[in-house]
């Protein structure tokens, strides 16, 4: 099935920064991704919605290197790429904020921000004795949190477990924004948060976009999706059903599309 033109009420000029074509992922007899296409354009917030089991997380895992698709091609800025692991995707500038946040509770904010990419002291202390450059890491972490207006966190060395849910989410977003030069992926960033904290995280998402980094936002929260997204990728039965603009459809339309209660114009669903 050709997914390119159908139901794409939004046409962007220019090339997508991150593109997936014909992605397939099977787990035994279950097909999680069924020749799925995906496009993310520069500078946009693209929401990905879909019912449980539609294959959203498989798609995101494929794009962030956590799983390797069985078939299909991913291109970043027009060049084909292959991510063997999340580390490789990170090396390309794709950062993911996982729903679990992937932070070590007992370690400090600075330690967590640099986990897996620590800075070492210059000279012999760094090269031979492998000493961490703590002052530099703390300074960088403080700057990044400041940029996102998160400096209600007073001590950069306090363990992450002493932070509230919103603060942890903020640190995780700051980490992704600090290192994600090309794409930032957010998986259910507001699912565990209160009303006020969710609001703050939505502002963070807009801040990150305003610095030119495109964002993929996975969420079940329709009000949040319709508020911040530029385009909405609706995922159904392992592939992209359509892409809509929040202004053209209502939330109930979107829910109807993703649950299969209604089909967008021009789309035929094969049983």
């Amino acid at each position: 099935m050709d997914q390119k033109g159908i139901g794409m009420t939004v046409q962007y000029s220019g090339e997508p920064i991150l593109k997936g074509r014909g992605l397939v992922k099977r787990y035994g007899k279950v097909t999680a991704l069924d020749h799925c296409d995906f496009d993310l354009y520069p500078g946009e917030i693209l929401a990905v919605i879909g019912d449980n089991g539609a294959g959203k997380s498989s798609l995101i895992k494929a794009l962030s290197g956590a799983v390797q698709p069985d078939e299909g091609e991913i291109t970043l800025e027009g060049k084909p790429v292959h991510f063997g692991s999340p580390l490789e995707a990170r090396a390309y500038g794709i950062e993911c904020v996982y729903q679990t946040l992937a932070m070590s509770p007992a370690l400090s904010i600075a330690d967590n921000m640099f986990m897996g990419r620590e800075l070492r002291k210059p000279g012999v202390m760094g090269s031979l004795f492998r000493q961490l450059d703590r002052p530099a890491m703390e300074k960088f972490a403080r700057e990044k949190l400041n940029e996102l207006g998160l400096m209600t966190i007073q001590n950069i060395n306090q363990p992450v477990e002493t932070l509230s849910g919103g603060q942890r989410q903020g640190v995780a977003v700051a980490r992704a924004a600090a290192f994600g030069s090309k794409v930032v992926i957010l998986d259910e960033p507001t699912a565990a948060l209160g009303v006020k904290e969710s609001r703050r995280v939505l502002e963070l998402i807009r801040d990150v976009r305003s610095r030119g980094i495109p964002i993929i936002l996975i969420s079940h929260n329709m009000p949040h999706v319709f508020e911040v997204a530029d385009r909405i990728h609706i995922h159904r039965l392992g592939k992209r059903l359509c892409v809509i603009k929040p202004g053209d459809y209502s939330m109930s339309d979107a829910v109807a599309f993703m649950t299969g209660a209604k089909l967008p114009e021009g789309v035929t669903e094969d049983a």
């Binding site: 580390l87 996982y98 070590s104 330690d111 990419r117 209600t152």
Partner: protein
């Protein structure tokens, strides 16, 4: 669209007038809370306090306690436990446990001795072979834990028995006498040498233990590898997603633990003089090292504690044994009190963990 957006955010209108502050960090000023927080940041503080209190009490009870010879004897007696404790500490920090530490130490010392006396290999080379094989034994533990994904308790319960049995089979239960070693391969007894400033004997082994503790404290605190060890013990899934190669770290930790145990095996030859496959460390090394680790405030759930704490834990055990002996009580009181300390240490750990919530 317009109505939708309104509907989308209207439930938040109730926020108007509410405090604009989001998720601020509140410093709790209660004294108990602050103590809890401080202990959370400084995990080796509890064993240090216990150690100081024990020293003061025994100093008051026994006038001879604060003599240099007494203190150097205590250090001498904890040298082996301290080194094996370094091995146990890094394993426990990854939320694992190593029951095979004593077996690796004894088997390594036997290998070093037999390489020299049975096969005629020069002693320094035998020592290197022994250290290498000890590391290999640790590597097998690590491989089974990381790659085959077996629980560390089960893996090391198995290798403890396997290595100890191999040790008896390989050595044919034969002890190499101290006088033979002194005459033919003094390098094996190197750590039994001592400096004697002002008549107080301090074994090289004591300096080695202190050096290893200092090196590991640096590595765990100041290097990326050390931070990764904590991250793996704290939450392995999070560490993996954050870019830590958790399997590799686990294998390295168990292999390094094997190396430390082999070093302890070498020290045992210096300390006891002879090479004996029936040395009690084979059976008791794991319990002694786990005791030091737990009293030292390292959490058995991983990711929390410091190796300096383990050193204090080992010292506490040494001070109790020596102090109670000098006071002249039944030696069973030592174990009685250490048992109490273990339970207390774990209770404090649980309490500190609650601080984080």
């Amino acid at each position: 669209m317009a109505s939708d957006t309104k509907a989308a955010t209207s439930f938040e209108e109730g926020l108007k007038g509410a405090s604009e502050k989001v998720a601020e960090f509140h410093e709790d000023k209660g004294a108990l809370k602050r103590l809890q927080h401080w202990l959370h940041q400084t995990p080796s503080a509890v064993p240090m306090i216990v150690l100081v209190v024990a020293l003061i009490i025994f100093g008051l009870l026994s006038p001879n306690f604060f003599k240099a010879t007494t203190l150097s004897t205590i250090l001498q007696q904890i040298a082996i436990v301290g080194i094996i404790g370094c091995a146990q500490s890094i394993v426990v920090l990854t939320a694992g446990i190593d029951l095979s530490v004593g077996a690796i130490a004894v088997f390594s010392s036997v290998l070093m001795g037999q390489m020299t006396f049975r096969y005629g290999i020069p002693a320094p080379l035998s020592i290197l072979i022994g250290l290498g094989l000890g590391t290999a034994m640790g590597f097998i533990n690590g491989w089974l834990v990381a790659k085959v994904k077996l629980p560390p308790f089960i893996v090391t319960l198995g290798t403890w028995q396997i290595l100890l049995a191999s040790n008896f089979i390989f050595s044919a239960n034969e002890t190499i006498r101290s006088s033979d070693i002194a005459a033919q391969a003094p390098a094996l007894q190197f750590w039994g040498n001592a400096i004697q400033p002002g008549g107080v004997k301090v074994l090289y082994a004591v300096f080695l233990m202190v050096a290893l503790v200092a090196i590991m404290a640096y590595v765990l605190r100041q290097t990326a590898w050390g931070r990764h060890v904590y991250a793996v013990g704290d939450d392995p899934d999070a560490a993996e997603l954050a870019g830590v190669q958790t399997k590799r770290i686990l294998i390295q930790v168990y292999a390094l633990a094997g190396l430390f145990c082999a070093i302890a095996g070498w020290v045992m030859i210096g300390r006891f003089g002879s090479v004996s496959p029936t040395a009690s460390t084979g059976q008791l090394g794991n319990i002694q090292s786990i005791t030091a680790v737990v009293i030292g405030g390292i959490s058995l759930f991983g990711g929390r504690g410091s190796i300096v704490g383990m050193f204090f834990g080992a010292l506490i055990v040494g001070v109790f044994e020596m102090g109670l002996k000098m006071v002249g009580t039944d030696p069973q009181w030592t174990f009685f009190l250490i048992g109490l300390l273990i339970i207390l240490a774990v209770a404090v750990d649980q309490w500190i963990r609650k601080a984080s919530a």
